[in-house]
Structure formats: C-alpha cells, structure tokens
C-alpha cells in the first residue's frame, strides 16, 4: 500500500495517458469505422472491395506489427511522425476495422423496408444512411461497441509497451518495478488501474444499453 501512496502522482499520470490514448483512438476509430462500414455496404462494387480489404487487413494483422510498421517503418521511409500520432493512428486504424464490422451487422438489423420507404420519400442514399439507417444501427450495437472499448483499453498497453515511448499505466508500473524492486505491488497497482477503467466502461455501457438499446 505504501508504494501506491508514495507514487500516486506518476500512477495517476499513467492512468491519464492510457485514458487519453484510448479516447483519442476510439474517436478516430469511430470516424474511420463509419466510413469503412458505409463503403462495405455501398451499392458500388469497387468501394465494397476497398472496404473488405481494409477490414480483413487491419483485423488480422497483429497490433504490435502495425505499431512497428507505422512508427518505425514510416520514420524509416522519411515520413516522421511522433509517438502520440503513431500510437493513436495504429490503435485507431486497427479498431476501426472492428467498428466497421460491428456497424455493418447493426445496419443489417435495420429492416429493408426502411431503406425502401426512405428512398421512395425522395431521400438520397447518403441522407438515408445518415438520417434513417445509422441512428438505428448504432442503437442495436451498443453492447458490442462497449466490448470494443474494453478491448481497446487493453490494447492501449501494447502501444505503450512497444518501441513507442509513452508513459502509460503499464510503463509506469514497469518503471516502479525497476526502481523499487517490489515486483508484485508495482504490477498489481497498474493492474488495478486497468480494472478500474474496464469496469467503469462496462457499467457505463450497460447504462447506455438500458436506456437506448433497441432489442430485436
């Protein structure tokens, strides 16, 4: 217990950095994920193909490889990007593939009649998507989106542990361990931090689900 009190400031800093990585990547993942999902279900075949390739590539590549590819690889090729940008880009691109698949399954749960009704009312394809389909799709996929956020918080540790020098929660735990040689408490308190985040997200999404979810 003394170790956590003596090192509360760096631990809280680590928690904040982990949270920032997760929140920023999730925002990015939502934006890209929506775009890819719309491509995946668009009536234009080449767009669908691009969406499919995106999803299959980013879903099946190890996140660590992606981080190294973006951080070390791009720097080596002359496109220098900082650790924050690289970490958030990698985690965002990776998670976007899952967001796209989740949203796509949500879109398919909206009945076809709604699309037909909306088109016959004179809405364009884009308007139909934005005003009719996506709002309903989001409400059916609240629970899987919550799962994604939890997986993302866990994955943010990979970003911190790789070549990227970000002092996230895990990194702070490792530094404490090498400074104090108290292995168990150092990692234990980092673990408690992660559990705090994941439990909060679980509770939060359960509430959202109770309030907004459409059960089909």
């Amino acid at each position: 217990m003394t170790i956590v009190l003596a090192n509360l400031a760096p631990l809280l800093d680590g928690l904040r950095i982990t949270l920032s990585i997760a929140v920023l990547s999730f925002l990015g993942a939502m934006v890209i994920g929506i775009l890819v999902a719309v491509m995946r279900i668009s009536p234009i075949a080449p767009l669908r193909a691009v969406g499919l390739v995106y999803v299959e590539f980013f879903r099946n590549i190890p996140l660590l490889v992606l981080v190294l590819l973006i951080f070390l690889g791009l720097r080596d090729s002359g496109v220098g990007i900082g650790p924050w940008t690289a970490g958030i880009l990698a985690l965002g691109l990776y998670t976007a593939a899952y967001v796209a698949e989740v949203l796509r399954s949500g879109v398919f749960s909206v009945s076809k009649g709604q699309v037909e009704a909306s088109l016959s009312l004179g809405f364009t394809y884009g308007e139909t998507m934005r005003r009719i389909i996506l709002p309903q799709a989001f409400r059916t996929v609240i629970s899987p989106l919550g799962s994604l956020v939890i997986a993302m918080i866990k994955n943010s540790a990979i970003v911190g542990a790789s070549a990227i020098a970000l002092s996230d929660l895990l990194k702070v735990g490792r530094i404490l361990n090498s400074r104090t040689f108290q292995t168990f408490p150092s990692f234990f308190w980092a673990a408690v931090g992660y559990l705090l985040l994941t439990v909060t997200v679980t509770v939060l999404f359960r509430r959202l689900e109770l309030r907004y979810a459409i059960r089909r």
């Binding site: 299959e56 590539f57 879903r59 099946n60 590549i61 190890p62 996140l63 660590l64 490889v65 992606l66 190294l68 590819l69 070390l72 690889g73 791009l74 720097r75 080596d76 090729s77 899952y98 698949e101 989740v102 796509r104 399954s105 629970s143 899987p144 919550g146 799962s147 994604l148 939890i150 997986a151 918080i153 866990k154 994955n155 943010s156 540790a157 990979i158 542990a161 790789s162 895990l170 735990g173 490792r174 361990n177 292995t183 168990f184 990692f187 980092a190 673990a191 992660y194 559990l195 994941t198 439990v199 679980t202």
Partner: protein, 261 residues
C-alpha cells in the same frame, strides 16, 4: 541500394529465416491453445459449480484475468517467475520444439495461458448456458447424477456450440504471440528486426537493404494469410452449427474477434 520491392526476401536466407520465426509463433499459439482449453474447461465448470463460494472465486478469477491487458500479464509473470525460468532451462522436456528451451518461454506461456484460459472459460460457459434448461431437467429425470449429466448430456452439446468462437479466439491468440517479442523471446518480430539490422551491411548480411516498412509488412501479411483462413473456417463452422441447432451463436463480451464474424 536497389529500387526493387521486397528483393531482400530472396537475398541470403532472409525470407526463410523470417518464415521459420513465424512457425515459432504458430507453435507457441498451439501449445498455449491446448493448455488454455484444458484450464478453461476447469474454470468454466468451477464457475458453474453449485457451491456458491467456489463459483464466486472462479468467476472473480475469470473476470479479472479477462479484463487485464495480456502484455501486462506477460511482463509481470516474466519478472515474477524468474526462479522457474532457470529451472526450465536446466530441465525442459525434449518433446517440445527447440525454441521452447529458452527460459523466457515460461513467462510468455504463463501469460498467454492465464489470459486465454479465462477467455475460453467464458466462451465455454456461454456455450453451456445456451442449452435449454430442459436438457438438464430431462437428464435429472432419467436418474443421471451431476457428473453423468455433465459428461454425457451437457458438455458434448455445450462444447460443440463453442467451436466457432474458439477458432475466432485462436485468431486473437495468433496475433498475441507477437507480444512475447517484448520480453526478448526470439520469434518472428525479433527475427525481422535482426534482418533489418544486418541486411545491407556487407560484413554481417547481404548487400540488399531491407527497409523496415517492407519487413514488417511482410510479417504482417503472414499473419493476415493464416488468420484469414481461420476466420473462413470459423464462419463456415458457425453457419453449419446454426443450421444444425437453429440457434444464434453466443457472444462473449469483451472479445474483439468474436464481435462480427
């Protein structure tokens, strides 16, 4: 300096060297999967036990390890199991692949198994709970005891339903094996890095340079290839299962690869 793409793959033994590293990753995944299935089944049964205290402790165990970052577990256990590492290097069983002789494999496998057994326990529990109550009641009415009901009625059906989800989890496991490179275990990423370091250096490697971007893209595509086949398999199994039982597959919260197959 050349301008051809990926010519470093055929130079020297680079391509083969990396491929052999990739096989090490697949071996780690296979060993971890088998151990996690056994441990996961035990955890699932404990969680479903009638004894309140037992099921509570098993539930807590599963929920804690499922919600921690795997890399934290691997790093933690590697430091914590230092004494075991030396013992393993002295007396590792000879039937395991050569790369498993390193003491680092202890922390790597311990982390992978701890995490994945918790995940698989949850998948199995979902599979078992998805069975209609009538199955258990009918078995009871036929005079079968708890163990007989489990062995002959519940597990054969429940575990069958979790096969597609397990194959999906194997995709995650495959990807996660790259994390052991962070404790300096020699596998595909470490090998990739040494190719990068040595290629283009006339004293240690070939004349052909290996750009970082290309090496990691090559490694990434190896994973994409294998995992694509696995996800095809998972989808096919799921469709077959759905046709057979007429049920929707059970989703387990918190697992990214099971979200949208």
């Amino acid at each position: 300096m050349t301008f051809a793409f990926f010519d470093w793959v055929t130079a020297e033994n680079n391509g083969r060297y990396i491929l052999e590293g990739f096989v090490i990753n697949l071996q780690i995944a296979a060993v971890a999967l088998v151990a996690s299935l056994i441990l996961g089944l035990a955890l699932a049964l404990l969680r479903l036990a009638r004894h309140r205290a037992v099921s509570f402790v098993a539930g807590l165990w599963v929920d804690v390890f499922r919600n921690l970052p795997l890399i934290l577990l691997i790093l933690f256990l590697t430091v914590l199991l230092k004494p075991v590492r030396q013992a393993w290097e002295d007396a590792s069983p000879s039937f395991l692949p050569e790369s498993f002789e390193s003491g680092l494999v202890v922390g790597a496998l311990a982390g992978l198994i701890l995490y994945n057994s918790a995940v698989l326990a949850e998948i199995m529990r979902a599979g078992i709970l998805s069975l209609p109550r009538g199955q258990r009641e009918a078995a009871g009415a036929l005079g079968l005891g708890y163990h007989q009901t489990m062995r002959h009625v519940i597990l054969p059906q429940g575990l069958r339903r979790m096969v597609p989800a397990t194959v999906s989890q194997l995709i995650t496991l495959n990807k996660d094996t790259t994390l052991v490179s962070l404790i300096a275990f020699q596998e595909v990423i470490r090998r990739g890095r040494s190719v990068i370091a040595n290629a283009g250096n006339p004293f240690t490697g070939s004349q052909v340079e290996a750009p970082i971007l290309e090496v990691f893209l090559f490694i990434g595509l190896l994973f994409v290839g294998v995992n694509l086949l696995l996800s095809r398999l998972s989808r096919r199994l799921e469709i077959r299962e759905r046709k057979r039982t007429g049920t929707k597959p059970q989703r387990v919260a918190g697992l990214e690869d099971q979200l949208a197959t």
